[in-house]
Symmetry: C2
């Protein structure tokens, strides 16, 4: 293998591939008449990126991902040459040679499952930022580590929960196709939310789920772990409705949260035309803050963990939100008063006040 490529775009492709794979082990580089393919595969994922390169000699190598990504990221030259020299892949620029050992392992890059539909990348990224972040990083039940991806005739629905809160986002599909219903590892979707752009293809078959955009394809095995549903958390006993600016409420939660107890719990006291956040802690003192709000229905005043409320409100930055409060230990439902293309519904479980 022998090729010359633009350093920045090669570096981006190699870094993107390394971040999309769970293990930063071997990365496959394949040079041919279609340019360069960078890919990797581990027990659950396959990632493949294509890029431009001036290929002098076709070939295929597997090299350690970490040092290759790090070297390319730090190079200042516009062009870089990758050339096999004996048992090394040499990364060459004027005055510099960085030589990586060739790994002899087998690396198979399975094809992407068939495309079933498409979504707008910006809408997908907006939805995933909140939904993927709501799944548990680590949980004994795999159901809480995944995002349920469901496609309906004109709509994609994304659902995740860590048992204490649940996020549900819907966004329009750009075309109708075979329905998807898959539980996809949240970590991969969180990384996708950092990279995807343009039009994003949705791919799937019985055991795999895939995404494709701008020269990148990602495939993962789906989790076989039951399916999250709003029915787990939904109920219809809303007796108090509060409308307030999401950013103002979040800022108040942050300030009053400094005085919250060890469980980081604060209370949302609902008044006639305001809400009052309050917290107190033995050593630190106490705090309260009052915000104007449109209140209707009852005056049910739940307590929440500050962090959960902040995570929820982040998904509504810049928007006015409606909090639908239920009595007892039932979830508070948060929605935008004027939702856009991506419709987000966030459920936060209340805590017992002390």
């Amino acid at each position: 293998m022998d090729l010359t490529a633009a350093t920045r775009s090669l570096s981006s492709a190699v870094s993107a591939a390394a971040r999309l794979l769970t293990a930063r082990s071997g990365l496959l580089l394949r040079a041919g008449k279609n340019g360069l393919t960078v890919g990797g595969s581990d027990s659950e994922r396959t990632v493949r990126l294509t890029g431009d390169a001036m290929v002098h000699t076709d070939g295929e190598v597997i090299v350690p991902a970490g040092p290759l990504a790090e070297t390319l990221r730090m190079l200042e030259d516009d062009l870089v040459r990758l050339v096999v020299e004996g048992s090394r892949l040499a990364v060459r620029v004027e005055g510099g040679r960085y030589a990586l050992p060739l790994l002899s392992r087998e690396l198979h890059l399975p094809d992407l499952p068939p495309k079933v539909s498409e979504v707008d990348g910006h809408a997908l990224v907006t939805a995933l930022r909140t939904v993927a972040g709501t799944a548990a990083k680590d949980d004994a039940l795999p159901m809480f580590t995944g995002v349920r991806v469901q496609s309906f005739s004109r709509e994609l629905r994304l659902t995740a929960s860590d048992r204490y809160r649940m996020a549900v986002a819907t966004l329009p599909l750009r075309s109708e196709g075979e329905p998807i219903d898959a539980l996809v590892p949240a970590g991969l979707l969180a990384e996708t939310a950092k990279q995807a752009r343009g039009v994003v293809g949705l791919h799937g078959d019985k055991t795999r789920f895939g995404l494709s955009w701008a020269g990148v394809t990602v495939t993962t095995a789906v989790l076989d772990a039951g399916f999250l549903s709003e029915k787990l958390i939904e109920s219809s006993t809303v007796d108090t409705t509060v409308e307030v600016g999401a950013d103002a409420l979040a800022a108040a939660v942050r300030r009053v949260g400094v005085y919250a107890d060890d469980r980081r719990v604060l209370t949302l006291e609902v008044g006639d035309s305001h809400v009052r956040l309050a917290s107190s802690k033995q050593d630190t003192g106490e705090a309260e803050e009052t915000l104007k709000a449109e209140v209707s229905g009852g005056r049910t005043s739940p307590s929440f963990q500050a962090r959960y409320l902040l995570d929820a409100l982040q998904g509504f930055a810049g928007e006015r939100v409606r909090l639908e409060i239920q009595p007892g230990m039932r979830a508070c439902v948060i929605r935008a008063v004027e939702p856009g293309e991506v419709k987000l519904t966030y459920y936060v479980m209340p805590m017992l006040a002390r």
Copy 2:
């Protein structure tokens, strides 16, 4: 106590005081006809800041530093009121009240030792950034955790070492005064380097060292732990001199360092009109990079730990440096080819190449 102050400037003063103290325990607030004093004191340090405030009622309180600093930092209102209410200091803004418990502890703020001279804050900060960072964070010998501060008739000298490298910086004194020779805890000086500005006063007596600038005074007990001296490391067997750009050399060290062995050691091979950095590691491969350089004398080619070389070169950012290389296990001396107001000399001990 009852006062109104500009939120931003009060927040700056409280945060600065908290960062300059080792323990973030109690902070004293004193309101009187001279405005507001914020201060703290622990076993080794005393910090005092003065600021403007509209004082409604004189008084003095001690409150927990952490939550006060955090609350002030997050407030969006231009003005804030601090008022004692029973056993609380209430921080009040429109719609918000954050109430801190009053600590009943005694807090004495000793006076600053007498001023002996002054330096330009910018020059002091430049020098301290490198010198204070060269001291050990933690060492069984206190000598290696301090910065030796010496004043001569027209010059201030700062010296620190962690045994593997030593930094010596000199800068002009703005006035002659009693000579100082004190070993000052490096942590305090590193924090000073983030805050000091304008003209900085140097203060000292037999057991204490102090600094003052723009309404801030800091006093610390000096370390009684022997004195660092260039004589510990200096020798005069330089046989090889290399001139090269500090930034270009640092960038090359970073790239080639990716391929360094577990000790993170790389070799500086000296040629006729270049230097060649080289490293290799069993699993990762090997790298070399060649830089143009002006070489005179011999061709002694030492090996260094990448991190030590990077720390050294950071102090010469944007400058051309001269490396004076000695044979054997003697320190390499690094100086700017054209030093400015702050003259920095950096000694790096070589490592055995494998």
